[in-house]
Symmetry: D2
Subunit: 353 residues, 4 copies
Amino acid sequence: MPGNSFGTLFKLMTFGESHGPAIGVVLDGVPPLLDLDVSDIQKELDRRKPGQSAVTTPRKEGDIVEILSGVFEGKTTGAPLAMMIRNEDQRSKDYGEIKDKFRPGHADYTYQEKFGIRDYRGGGRSSGRETACRVAAGAVAKKYLETLGIRIVAYTKSVGNIVAETIDYDVIESNIVRCPDAKKAVEMEALIKDLRGQGDSIGGVVEAVVMGCPVGLGDPCFDKLHAMLGHALLSIGTVKGIEFGDGFAATQLRGSENNDAFYQEGDRVRTKTNHAGGSLGGISTGEDITMRLALKPPSSITVLQKTVDRFGADQDIQVHGRHDPCICPRAIPVVEAMIAVTILDLFLIQKAF
Amino acid sequence: MPGNSFGTLFKLMTFGESHGPAIGVVLDGVPPLLDLDVSDIQKELDRRKPGQSAVTTPRKEGDIVEILSGVFEGKTTGAPLAMMIRNEDQRSKDYGEIKDKFRPGHADYTYQEKFGIRDYRGGGRSSGRETACRVAAGAVAKKYLETLGIRIVAYTKSVGNIVAETIDYDVIESNIVRCPDAKKAVEMEALIKDLRGQGDSIGGVVEAVVMGCPVGLGDPCFDKLHAMLGHALLSIGTVKGIEFGDGFAATQLRGSENNDAFYQEGDRVRTKTNHAGGSLGGISTGEDITMRLALKPPSSITVLQKTVDRFGADQDIQVHGRHDPCICPRAIPVVEAMIAVTILDLFLIQKAF
Amino acid sequence: MPGNSFGTLFKLMTFGESHGPAIGVVLDGVPPLLDLDVSDIQKELDRRKPGQSAVTTPRKEGDIVEILSGVFEGKTTGAPLAMMIRNEDQRSKDYGEIKDKFRPGHADYTYQEKFGIRDYRGGGRSSGRETACRVAAGAVAKKYLETLGIRIVAYTKSVGNIVAETIDYDVIESNIVRCPDAKKAVEMEALIKDLRGQGDSIGGVVEAVVMGCPVGLGDPCFDKLHAMLGHALLSIGTVKGIEFGDGFAATQLRGSENNDAFYQEGDRVRTKTNHAGGSLGGISTGEDITMRLALKPPSSITVLQKTVDRFGADQDIQVHGRHDPCICPRAIPVVEAMIAVTILDLFLIQKAF
Amino acid sequence: MPGNSFGTLFKLMTFGESHGPAIGVVLDGVPPLLDLDVSDIQKELDRRKPGQSAVTTPRKEGDIVEILSGVFEGKTTGAPLAMMIRNEDQRSKDYGEIKDKFRPGHADYTYQEKFGIRDYRGGGRSSGRETACRVAAGAVAKKYLETLGIRIVAYTKSVGNIVAETIDYDVIESNIVRCPDAKKAVEMEALIKDLRGQGDSIGGVVEAVVMGCPVGLGDPCFDKLHAMLGHALLSIGTVKGIEFGDGFAATQLRGSENNDAFYQEGDRVRTKTNHAGGSLGGISTGEDITMRLALKPPSSITVLQKTVDRFGADQDIQVHGRHDPCICPRAIPVVEAMIAVTILDLFLIQKAF
């Protein structure tokens, strides 16, 4: 029942339910003397927050973060850095529909069985709301990685069967789907709006790239770079799969096609291709670390579904509320955050030796 | 540079290089009073060992395991269970070809950069040989899981673009590809042999299923069931991707298609479909836990490749030796083992609460 | 630089500086379905808070705790339980005296060297104020241990060279020194007041007993019961030594004097004496777990002292403020708390097997 | 039931029973490129091995260590370093006396209750024999610390009530008690021999000093330097207490007596006295780290004792065999080893930030 902490040297512990007093995160192992302002955190939270566009939930939450400790005169001190977001919008509401009924695709049933108790208000701990804490943690990690020249970019690669064909990083934040292909972004937006109109939802693929990562991060044999990233990213509720480099496509390749030939570029050993996605033997090569994540369609839909209640009786259910019809746009800062905390942790571990 | 240990309550630490004196594993947190004989371990190791069939490396290694501690009068005592396999076949050999040249697709370059030193004989620590230790650990975990009625099955789902169409568990161990489709197994075998003749290799997909897992395993939020499995399985050197349930296919589904409707079956809440692959909110549902792994084509090929050496000079390389042209058949016991140790650890954690 | 978290299954992570916005703690791994009210926490905090008596600092802090998560309808949910105490009394103050000068006996110098930055206001992270978070965590652990019949008692055994001669648990909370010997308590109180008058301070010994602990807690070989307790208790800033059972006195005994003879009492194996202090081979025997802690005299004194400043210059220093002349009375709830979190963690680990 | 591993970045996992096939240790997180020869390990093991002098057990064990992995061409590779010692002297013996009877002062009863099974041959896992693995691990850590100029010395401070009065490090290894006072060493030796003649045993105090430790090791708030050392050293079976600096004596001091005044010595801030024992706020000051350990009299004595057996019947017991009448001389390398692994781990953690 632990499991709410992550990391070895850069550790996070998150807390909070969607409808409790607050959510937050404590970071233990923040390198000292890092310039940090609350706006560094808020900026990332704003990219995740609900109500930011026509393709996200219209729910309005300020998600104003407060730094409670660990920063002094604009710099981190090396002491734990705690951040808290008060929950708003907690009007007394009728939760009757979900108090006893198990929503399909949600954790209602498994939480009830595992814990014997469940904060049924809006999903409680299992709510996607906990990802705000990851974003806050990631914002701190990103600040440090920036000083090392490491940059992380994630974007919507596909929504349903609409796939981005061009990858222009400059386009990502200029459309509300966060797609690097401006033309496909328009199609994706239309599809999402259409599904929302039907009370339904759709999945998608998020692609992420880490640029500027030094050679040598990741540890044999269980803490390989992509094993750690896999752990981090598969822990995001909506993620059902992950692949690195060519991933599943590599299963159809021959070794002679998939091996990346080495060549020398100045002082640096590089590879001509990057089928491997930036790691060999679980250790970063210095090439871009590339990965793709499978995000399932959000489970909260108003379409009528079959389920049972806590008492074993058959029930119909419609999950009302203001939900995301496609989670990709809001998941992107969460993906970047989890990559950032993982890379920072591996960087610190490597620095120790 | 740690990273050679895994688990919270059921912990393993592995050691050993492919051409050093021995490889082995220590298990800390073995439940006491479990019946265990060395043959329980050897049986699983024999499924992984080289030279077992016409589609694996012809290298002959006995891989005879010795239990060094933790078992008394046929039962585990709760003390650390150490197992060791002496390396054989360590004839003095000319490693000139790989001593200074970086083999494409291998960890030679990244180990050299990370550690500043590298046991170049046969890959050293980065050799696939370390997976024998995982299999030994998994054999102990499996014995315990059996007492709980939990069963793990893995098999070759595809080799290159040949995909199993029928899934018959009884067929798996009856063909050397470990494919559950007897007809496709013949095609796969032919393809592998053909590629070996060419000095090349091929990737494949391994599918795995956990049956009989109780509801409630996996811990929110970072230690979700599939995050832990992802960590465990992506740490196998050859695995480049993993997906649970419908995985990447779910990205093209609507919520109304992907949600699994609940129904009551006797005392038990079940789902009519299993798109989720056995977990909701990161916690097991009691349905089969299903996953697919992308295995890259083995990097050791005799096809001529371009590379560089430690001194920055361009080099041609041919990786001679007796290598696996497709790793799926031998990876299967490794996959099962990593699943077993992960599930056992989560089971023990859940039992504590 | 991590180190602000503790525990394996029952984990705590604390945060906060003495003069920052807030201090707090997050508990991960709280067993669900435990009855818990904020008053359970506040009650323990009130035992630790400053200004409670004539022998503690007269500083007034409400130390009002707020539960931010993990409790629903009066019961723990198994989700992280976060608690926060807002800092009060943060008037703008002249810290000139300690901003650049290193206070003898304090962590000013070591923090400056370790982190390269230091929140000099009232000690920052190194302030004894962080122990309030431990007390809050311990209050939750105690509630659970109570349901198991485990009780923890700590008291002032000596102040300077005044030693309690009788041990009456009922007397402890009835005097402000928390001494189990009412007569000696009067002497201790007089000594403490006298030293405060002189601007000086005094050390003491705190003794603690765990009653009702089941047989079998503690894990060979590194996580022995008293090793875990030692780790927990030596992490309290003021503690300079710990002994279990007869401790240092046992070094003068013969084996025939120190060994505790076993006898049978009903179903239970017991020992006639308890020189061992409740553990054998690092595992609890079911007898009382007994220990004594050496608490140094508080470092904050107004007596003139010699020191240096950050720039290497000799300096005189007088540490003004409202400090504790003897920390034993207020350390007692902290000691109990650390014992409680340790025992609970070991209990859960044992329950897993 | 785990607990057989220790450390965060420099991790050890030990295994083995006194009468099983072998004992050993795996080190994960060994810095690469360290010169290491098997003789570096053997040298330390020889200081611990039985039969080395007239005041230790006459039991003869070669304790020949074999390095199984992690060293290549005389240097560590950063891969796990496994070491194994085969058990000798395992003649079939009559364990009837201890198979069912619980030896007072031993872990027989607690192991039986905790695990439900017990390897009764010579104590099994609870045997002091496991400390050989600690010494092997410590030998590796010491080699690294030497390169940093960190030196660890431990010695017998007292045996029974005979206390060393002079501390001359050069004398320590020149007498069989390992006492730094040559004159008192003679008395100690006589006392130990006398007690052995009586079939009894005696306790003692071991003092240890770490010299040359840089400022800044140890992490607030739970992983303070002396908390980590306390954990490490209290995990040695025979240790019943530990104190740092003035320890329990400080409880009788005033703050004005106990605080160590700072002064500047060249570039370095130093303290005129070292009551604190080398740490402030849990972080090393650069002064000597000093500590004293209470070692109980060995429990194995031939004096007749009262006990019970597994079936609840009263029994007399005499523990025959070849036992140490005073464990201090052989504990010293174990104490040094545990200090070394702890300091190295803290050093690596600090280096990461």
